[in-house]
Symmetry: C2
Subunit: 232 residues, 2 copies
């Protein structure tokens, strides 16, 4: 499905790629209307001039985009093998994550990320915002080591941990709509010293259920449950 929604910056400028999409793929011209998605707002944008590399137009209507989740959820995400990080960024953005903080820990298999991959993540997040009709592209932070992760998170911090037996995610969610951060463990699991460090920084370990999940399943499942519980 080709969308007529385009995520833009505060200057409302459409990129050459977006202009090409409008001119060549959608075949729109002067008088046609597209939707611009800028931070927190949706704008109807009547095209005035269209070329294959640039577009000019006029904002004819402005509304606040009210599908943004009412909770600000930050996801601490380990670097995962293959396409799994991309998959989580795509799904978690559709579900409503506000910010991603990628990290590496002692047992991380993947330990760094190329500039090209970072740009790919940003493109995937932008496309997922368009799919889900959100108004805000989630920020993707720099990759940090485990001991710097907790400085980069907001609000109450929950760490999904396979060995946690007592506290289920459902019972660990804050009542209000304040900030919340969720950390998913890496493919190799978290070591006891890493769990101790998290707790010393005020994080609580939570269980996602009785069955071990792969990291990407855990991330999507936990984000879905949190957003469903807090975004009423």
């Amino acid at each position: 499905v080709t969308s007529r929604r385009f995520v833009v910056g505060d200057d409302l400028a459409l990129s050459p790629d977006q202009a090409r999409q409008i001119a060549t793929v959608l075949r729109l011209g002067p008088g046609d209307v597209v939707v611009l998605v800028a931070s927190g707002a949706e704008l109807d944008y009547r095209l005035d001039r269209v070329s294959a590399t640039s577009v000019e137009g006029t904002v004819t209507a402005r509304r606040s985009a009210d599908v943004e989740p009412r909770c600000a959820l930050t996801l601490g995400l380990p670097l995962l093998r293959g396409e799994h990080t991309e998959l989580v960024i795509e799904s978690a953005t559709q579900l409503g994550v506000r910010r991603f903080v990628p990290y590496v820990s002692a047992r991380s298999v993947v330990r760094d990320v190329s500039a090209g991959k970072l740009r790919r993540w940003e493109r995937i997040a932008r496309e997922a915002v368009e799919t889900s009709r959100r108004a805000r592209v989630p920020e993707i932070g720099d990759v940090v080591p485990w001991d710097a992760l907790f400085d980069a998170l907001d609000g109450r911090v929950l760490v999904a941990w396979e060995e946690e037996r007592d506290l289920d995610l459902a019972n660990a969610l804050p009542a209000g709509a304040g900030g919340l951060s969720l950390v998913i463990g890496p493919e190799g699991g978290l070591g006891p010293d890493e769990v101790a460090l998290a707790r010393s920084r005020g994080a609580a370990t939570v269980s996602l259920g009785r069955r071990p999940l792969r990291a990407e399943t855990a991330a999507i499942a936990a984000v879905a449950r949190i957003i469903a519980a807090l975004d009423r």
Copy 2:
């Protein structure tokens, strides 16, 4: 992570592939113990004879595998493009789905599935059972058209539908632990006649939230929410 858990049939026979894994990859021999996972039970299995193509042994302990979800959830899953069906089968099996019923509907883009792909789905489901330490490999039904789908589902039937505004998934779940079926719409969406047919067969349409989700995200998110709510 190489697992010592092997899913077998009721005859407890290990396949040549599994024997090779035991002999060549894990390098186990007589006296070593592996875990066999048969329908509903976990067995300790002491190896007596090991070759590269066959293994014989003795059951030394038997326990019921209690991580199986207490709810029997059937997932009606459209055929999806690329690797997306595989992804949903993998994640939804880890989360606890009991049975899959693949289907095609009017706007389905992918309309049939090769025998090789079906075997691949079955292998992915079996591996996901091993990952999540479940005891039961979900059944994957034959591909059915929309109007036969409702004959193949169990219990209360919920159809996730983007245009449903009133009934959220959370408010549509049965109180008891009886059978439940969830249908995820295809990539092209459901037509009004398809929704009408579902309702005439007793299904309820439900919302997964205010943001449109891609089919694979919707499937994983909804399964995670249902299992978390019903498998207490």
